[in-house]
Symmetry: C2
């Protein structure tokens, strides 16, 4: 126990220790993730198929299952220095409050204005767009973390950015919208009258408040019909997990520095960008048979892709304009309850993580939203940080594991990813504070309906 005394509350690496390469976990996977396929022909999408939508360099990263390390360009390294390395925090105060023998660490990615880990990939995608001589980017955003991160990256590099924001969020989350505008992005409520697909949806569903799938469709349309624009996405894709490996590499370097070997690594899972990034180097060791760790994905009981979905080809978007990806999915027309406040609303899951889960390298648990907010509150009061609802799924699971240790007396070392802060999620906190939050678990029938509608591949 006395060696504990040497471990600071926050382990900060030096700037020189920020990773200079990203790690591509696919290189160590025996079973590679299934390729994206064309929804019409069911043929794998190659470089040329993807060029109208994505930047060239990013497509190369997307398709490369073999290169283990990719150099991080110097300009991105410099940008990373503005907000990285992020701290690996020893949750001494939470441990004390739980009275657990477990040792709990969290990698905190929320100390930047985007409020989450999304910035790690946003700057990369914007950088390669700039390198390619593009004018600008388009994207969609729901709650706004991704849109904010990309706005920051585009402001820094002088790129134009057009964000389609789900109309209901645009109206109910004006603050996120203003952050994006402050960074110079143009933010349009979706469905809009600026695109063909937007006009069509508005005509078919007058008064609709929009969906992520619709916003994706609009963003893709603008990117593909305007010279010098490309579309970017903040999760799910292989390239995004590659960029997010910076989280895991820093985490591992910080642990190694103090000789700490975790027993388990826990992350929340929506599209998988944070979880995939956090676990990458640890999963690499596991795949190579060098080490063993429990790796636990935590998802909302209201949108349980891993725990109640199927592993199959599906559309990445609810609008069904994108390629098909093989992933754990609830079906692209599954919509979580409107009362679902905890983020992680995506129907599918990163193809990389899906393959790893199918092959038995990961566990998954689902948690209910009232228990997630209870964990968030306990964490806020003891560790000082107001966590994002998404991140609080991981907190919930980490606390549950720490309480098991209390029962058994085991001094396990738990590492979890704290992806971001909850400053823009206070409507949900208010609901919890007022005792008005409920749990929302889809029925088997609900799931059957959307899963039965999966495309036949």
């Amino acid at each position: 126990m006395s060696s504990d005394k040497k471990i600071p509350y926050k382990i900060y690496l030096n700037e020189s220790e920020i990773p200079k390469q990203w790690y591509n976990v696919r290189a160590d996977m025996k079973n590679k993730p299934a390729p994206l396929i064309n929804p019409g022909t069911h043929e794998p999408m190659g470089f040329d198929d993807l060029r109208p939508v994505f930047c060239d360099e990013l497509i190369k990263q997307e398709l490369d299952n073999d290169t283990a390390f990719f150099d991080i360009p110097q300009e991105i390294q410099d940008f990373y220095k503005m907000y990285r390395p992020s701290p690996l925090v020893r949750a001494y105060c939470l441990e004390k409050a739980l009275d657990t023998p477990a040792k709990i660490y969290y990698k905190f990615e929320g100390n930047n204005t985007s409020g989450s880990h999304k910035l790690n990939s946003a700057i990369v995608q914007a950088y390669y767009a700039k390198q390619q001589g593009l004018k600008g980017l388009t994207t969609e955003t729901g709650a706004g973390q991704w849109g904010t991160a990309l706005s920051m990256a585009c402001a820094y590099l002088g790129l134009d950015l057009k964000v389609f924001m789900v109309k209901v969020s645009y109206e109910q989350k004006p603050f996120r919208r203003e952050v994006m505008r402050t960074y110079g992005a143009s933010v349009t409520p979706s469905p809009s009258m600026e695109t063909e697909i937007g006009k069509k949806i508005n005509a078919e569903h007058p008064g609709t408040t929009g969906s992520l799938g619709c916003a994706i469709s609009e963003a893709v349309e603008v990117a593909t019909t305007n010279e010098g624009y490309r579309y970017v996405l903040g999760s799910v894709l292989n390239q995004v997990l590659l960029h997010q490996s910076v989280i895991g590499l820093e985490t591992k370097a910080a642990l190694d520095k103090y000789g700490i070997v975790p027993d388990m690594i826990i992350g929340c899972a929506g599209g998988g960008s944070n979880l995939g990034g956090l676990i990458s180097p640890f999963m690499g060791e596991k795949l190579r048979g060098e080490k063993d760790y429990r790796i636990i994905a935590v998802e909302p009981a209201s949108c349980p892709s891993f725990t109640r979905g199927v592993y199959a080809y599906d559309f990445c978007d609810t609008g069904m304009v994108c390629p098909l990806a093989k992933m754990y999915t609830l079906g692209s027309n599954f919509i979580p309850s409107a009362n679902h406040a905890g983020g992680l609303r995506y129907h599918g899951m990163s193809p990389i993580l899906s393959q790893l889960y199918a092959d038995g390298y990961m566990e998954a648990v689902s948690v209910e939203q009232t228990s997630v907010f209870a964990a968030a509150e306990q964490f806020a009061r003891t560790e000082g940080i107001l966590p994002a609802p998404e991140s609080s799924h991981a907190i919930r699971a980490a606390i549950d594991e720490a309480m098991k240790c209390k029962e058994t007396g085991e001094e396990k070392t738990i590492v979890f990813g704290l992806t971001g802060t909850g400053y823009f999620d206070l409507v949900a906190y208010q609901k919890y504070n007022d005792g008005e939050m409920t749990d929302l678990i889809p029925t088997d029938e609900d799931l059957k309906k959307s899963i039965d509608a999966l495309p036949k591949v």
Copy 2:
């Protein structure tokens, strides 16, 4: 210039380098700040006079003009480790955007959930209340930074907290309110029907949306009429500047580590808690004749205590229930325009800073709010951090000084305090983004009216 290469983007001290003592600048002042006096008798307030309102240990700190260093209790040192040391950031990206030879550093205090430096004193005041065996604390809050910080501190220590929040903020800033509630504080809109003074004000001004002065009066009443409660204040007082010296001590330690000697130190000034804390050790050197620095207070043109106020005894609150303090003031019934969005709305100024300014140890400038938000936007886009409007006053002045260097070619070193983040100020940002922000400068006549109403001492 090559030595610059060694200076990282962010200078983080080690946890062992967090100050273990606060520095009391009064010890090095030849002319001590004038004492608080009783508004009835005009006699200086002593320990016994202040006991019904404040905690004992804090009164000792308030009255002690001679002790240069106060030990920081271990429990507070441990709490500080959760969010300190805060980084001293080299603004490489801003420098590049300005194309200035100046070297710009900022001490960033916003990386905690309260979003500002207020937590540095909140935990101290809560700690001494706990030590004294009190049940809880009362306070007022306007925009909510102080209330949030105190909520976090009280949650950590298990103290009860009652916050009177100016009614208009309570209604228009529900998110700040929810953060406080998440930390377990009870938040009451002021004026309320829970206090005698609140009932009186509601009866006299039906439908009033409240003021800071009224909220202070209610908080003081609850503290003095309930067994086991005391009142706490987040700025102005000597004790608060003492606690906030942790900012300046860390800043100086970080600069010393790299052999950097600043030419000027810039801070925004409302009640003076951040500015006083940031400059303390530098001012100490200046007072002792060891070094010279330009020290610049930046205040809003709409509430210009230093630049257009008088140095005189005045009430600390608009409700006129508190002791009189000698300070630069616009008169306790001066109310900045309702359109004033930039914070720093306090009519007076810390007595310590007032004495130092009167003695010629500091400069002061006032800046207009549209130029403050222009600086905020430029800073956000280059340095990535969305700054609080208050902090952006210091950014404005720092940019102005850096642009002077560009003209003269001088490589001056500028240090400024970035007190916090603007996540809860997006209504003001929206106004700026929409081009609807105006400048608001009080007329000489306005000021004369409130200054003429100063108490006769």
